[in-house]
Subunit: 380 residues, 2 copies
């Protein structure tokens, strides 16, 4: 299949590119390098230095089908995006090309604007380019479970059947996101649903949980050159990565607030599987389809206990910089991807140990001062 | 009360400024003149030439409290907006400063991007400026009934109590808007609700129906100099204005499609009343409040018949350029504003006649070729 990966230089984009190339798809990567800029602006960096996209492309040549790569900021350069799409004529676009951090979006006015501008306008440019040059191309869009917030009712997969005053309607599931970043994804979802309804676009919106891990089969083919970025900092890092770093340094695992916050999680290998399942079972003409993409639900306290048990670390509760419910109902449906054949990798002690060992082997690269949260959701 | 009107040079902004000045409020107008640019880009103009903001300010001086005016594009110039807010310290901001046309937003990629960029980023800049310099200021935001679309259930005022699998939640009313313009207002509503929930902002979102009319008490004080813009074209015009022009020229009233499309409508004088009621009864700290702002519900066929009866015109059905249901359930609640004291001006034959006469008196300014729709929602 001819596949375009937007944001193909990123944490998930790069492993996705290798995974699909190895399965004999024709993969073209488009990336604007914005993530590297945003990291610099936020004064953080991943655990190990990130190879350039060109170094990656060359390193991959001996392992799988060659990748095509283009540097293009899809929010800024709609003409180049349009040209690439006209040339490649992709059957599917996997769209990761978004500012991915909630704290980044809450850092300043400028960062908030940049987040919504980049994400919303990039996605609109993609919709227009496909409408013009590849209207039957299937868009696989990375959304987030954070779009839903933590409602007091079960979270369905994107749509909700409502009965109200003895009448019924199927409506987009109402959203209550927790940051200006999460809001940008809500806006994208609304724009994309319109594109399906009015222009006949075909979209799968993957509302993904929190991803952990760095190892995929392709990375293991040459970990020194094919690895993907590992963020543990307070801005681009995710919770399990932070715990792995804290465990490797034998300092307390920091839980924001009471730790009863409950979320969906998944192994990075399951992200790749889910994207592939969406790819092989595409949305039909005019369909806006939403899958809730995670394999297990944990509280932050559950996760801290799991890591503490494996590593003998202690747990410390710190003031929560976010505004979020710390004890709440949480029951998200996630049956669509298993029905397509998802075979999950649940979180094991072995996975935790491997993450901690990975950090230990690269401990020279850790900047411990980037771990404590400095960005407050509430005005001081 | 110290009031800032964003978009105070526009069709509704200018009459609102005069109305509130005459009621002894301290009114400051901020406008970026973008509407005049967008009109030029779309090759349309209002019925009569529009005085400059400075001519308007001077003309108003003999009728009411002087107005302060600033030229500032709030989406582009957040610093100037911030300075104005720090200086004025408004108790309320009335926010009309948005690209207001559905067809404009569907005209081209560039116009779609400009619509969402201008509207979403302008509103975000306002949220940040108020959070910083006037956190207790009440935002009165002009939204639109078009955010809801035409669901098969009753439309509540912004929020919906849902029962699902024997649990309940109060959620934002799910939206299904009909254009990229309407979507921009949906995005604004989500961002503003977040600002209330997380930062404690105070917001009234006025989901307004289709406004008609050009006469307010203040305009009648000197119609030659104080009038507001009258758009009848296919881009910025609204349906009753178009009918008034067609009636004045004795050509058929054009109804898009079958004409069963049903919408809420209101007289421009009721817009002013509604805004004043929201102003005098503000949202409380942290409250995101939504009022459905219209006084009557008509189908497009109802309206055409009303105008035809008064003027002896014929009605012609033309191909619908939009994608919308033409026969549908429509039952929007609109009790909040009447409960605050709204005293509506229903549509009368007299109002229709006055509109037609107004056009007749200015018939030299009409460009009949701008009436037929040229912008198609669907790809050709």
């Amino acid at each position: 299949m001819k596949i375009l990966i937007l944001g193909g230089d990123g944490y998930l984009g790069w492993p996705t590119a290798m995974y699909l190339s190895r399965r004999d798809h024709d993969v073209t990567i488009v990336d604007g390098m914005n993530k590297r800029l945003w990291e610099a602006q936020a004064s953080v960096r991943p655990l190990t230095h990130t190879p350039t996209m060109e170094e990656r492309r060359i390193a991959w040549m001996k392992h799988g089908k060659p990748l095509m790569t283009y540097t293009c900021d899809i929010a800024d350069n709609d003409r180049k995006l349009q040209e690439i799409i006209s040339m490649v004529k992709p059957e599917a676009v996997i769209h990761y090309a978004e500012q991915p951090s909630a704290p980044f979006s809450m850092m300043s006015r400028a960062a908030a604007i940049e987040t919504q501008r980049n994400n919303v306008i990039g996605t609109l440019n993609l919709m227009f380019a496909l409408r013009h040059s590849a209207p039957e191309c299937h868009i696989i869009k990375l959304g987030t479970m954070g779009e839903y917030g933590t409602p007091n009712i079960d979270i369905e997969e994107g749509w909700l059947d409502v009965e109200h005053n003895e009448r019924t309607a199927r409506v987009l599931y109402p959203k209550s996101p927790g940051s200006l970043y999460h809001l940008s994804k809500v806006h994208d979802s609304h724009n994309l649903e319109f594109g399906c309804r009015v222009w006949g676009l075909r979209v799968t919106d993957l509302n993904q949980g929190v991803v952990y891990g760095t190892g995929t089969d392709e990375i293991w083919m040459n970990p020194g050159k094919l690895f993907t970025s590992f963020h543990y900092d307070a801005i681009f890092g995710t919770v399990l990565n932070r715990f792995a770093v804290q465990a490797a340094f034998d300092i307390p695992l920091t839980v924001y607030g009471s730790g009863g916050q409950t979320r969906g999680f998944l192994d990075i290998r399951d992200t790749l599987q889910c994207v592939e399942l969406a790819l092989l079972n595409p949305a039909v003409h005019g369909e806006f389809r939403v899958f809730n993409q995670f394999t297990e639900v944990f509280t932050i306290n559950d996760l801290a206990r799991r890591v503490a048990n494996v590593t003998d670390c202690t747990v410390a509760h710190v003031a929560n910089p976010r505004v979020e419910e710390e004890e709440h109902y949480y029951n998200p449906v996630h049956t669509a991807l298993p029905a397509l054949g998802l075979d999950p990798h649940p979180l094991t002690d072995d996975t935790i140990e491997r993450m901690v060992n990975y950090v230990h082997g690269n401990r020279g690269g850790v900047n411990l001062s980037s771990i404590d949260p400095t960005i407050q959701w509430r005005q001081e």
